[in-house]
Symmetry: C2
Subunit: 195 residues, 2 copies
């Protein structure tokens, strides 16, 4: 599958297997909503939070004489941290955002060990880390503080389930309000939880 | 110029003109030193600071049946923020790092408006932002708090000079000590300035 030249596309590295189809509309929609929200926060001078670029391993670059350098061969790399970070009310903010079409649970295969370890480090150093989960078919988006995520993450290695039930996320997480100008208004939830 | 397949290379987008040779040893050396330093900070549980991936505009991707997705056409994009950010002692940290072969001044063309604006936003929200400048031929690396950078940045648009004299950086900046395990030990300077 090739994308037409010049079309602006967002790509995300996938789960554990780079061959998984991770570039679907689902992911892009939440990502775009969050990017819009961050842009709105920035314009309103509310917070400075950006998505990190997709990590790419560049192998071959052409430098034509009269035009811009062209990358001719590169591969998606696994991210060593989460996708989003920045500052809000003087606090370091760090999160990952994932969508699922699953209606009953959030599969933990959407995350990597690296990312969860990174969230723990952030917490240890006084930052705020969390997960944004969208159940796209239910049209609901939740903020799950990373502390709540960790126990599920660990238990999957001790015979526990490999997903977090929807009902648990509804219970332990916080529904993120949809607003016209802040489509995923996660700072609203952070205000209730931490500020 | 092509890089041989499989060779691990770091690429950086260049100054205002993407055709400038910005991939020389200079840039890579400071970048590698800082990456090593950040890794050391992480292992020592001192700070969580990472380099953001190089922003790339992906145009064409092949998805071969039995192997990883291959990016066949992509371009370097201008970064909208600085290259490094993270958390130290509960504070949001944000900086850009640049090397110059110039012995007498640091050319402001090494930075973009976006990056300087981003540093201002970081300061407004209670973070700490700065520039790391290495004079590679002098083998000296300085930390320049962004507040000191701003006046030079502005004055270049009002007929002022387009570079910061080395002597000013020596005066307004802080020499970053070289240590074996923290080759660019910028947290040492931050400790003196802010903690």
């Amino acid at each position: 599958m090739n994308y037409p030249n010049g079309k602006k596309q967002s790509f995300r590295t996938s789960g554990k297997n780079s061959q998984e189809p991770a570039f679907g509309n689902r992911g892009m929609t939440l990502e775009e909503d969050i990017n819009d929200t961050n842009e709105h926060y920035l314009v309103m001078n509310k917070a400075v939070i950006h998505k990190k670029p997709t990590p790419v391993q560049i192998v071959k670059v052409d430098y034509p004489k009269r035009s811009a350098a062209t990358i001719k061969e590169a591969y998606f790399k696994q991210a060593s941290t989460t996708d989003y970070n920045g500052i809000y009310k003087g606090k370091y903010i760090d999160f990952e955002a994932k969508e699922t079409k699953n209606k009953t649970s959030f599969p933990l295969s959407n995350l990597h060990d690296h990312q969860v370890k990174h969230m723990k480090q952030v917490n240890e150093h006084g930052g705020i880390s969390f997960l944004i989960v969208r159940f796209s078919l239910l049209n609901e988006t939740f903020l799950l503080p990373s502390m709540k995520l960790f126990s599920y993450w660990e238990s999957q290695y001790n015979g526990g389930r490999k997903s977090i039930p929807y009902s648990d996320i509804k219970e332990a997480g916080h529904l993120i309000p949809f607003k016209f100008q802040a489509k995923v208004d996660y700072l609203d939830v952070l205000d209730q939880l931490y500020f």
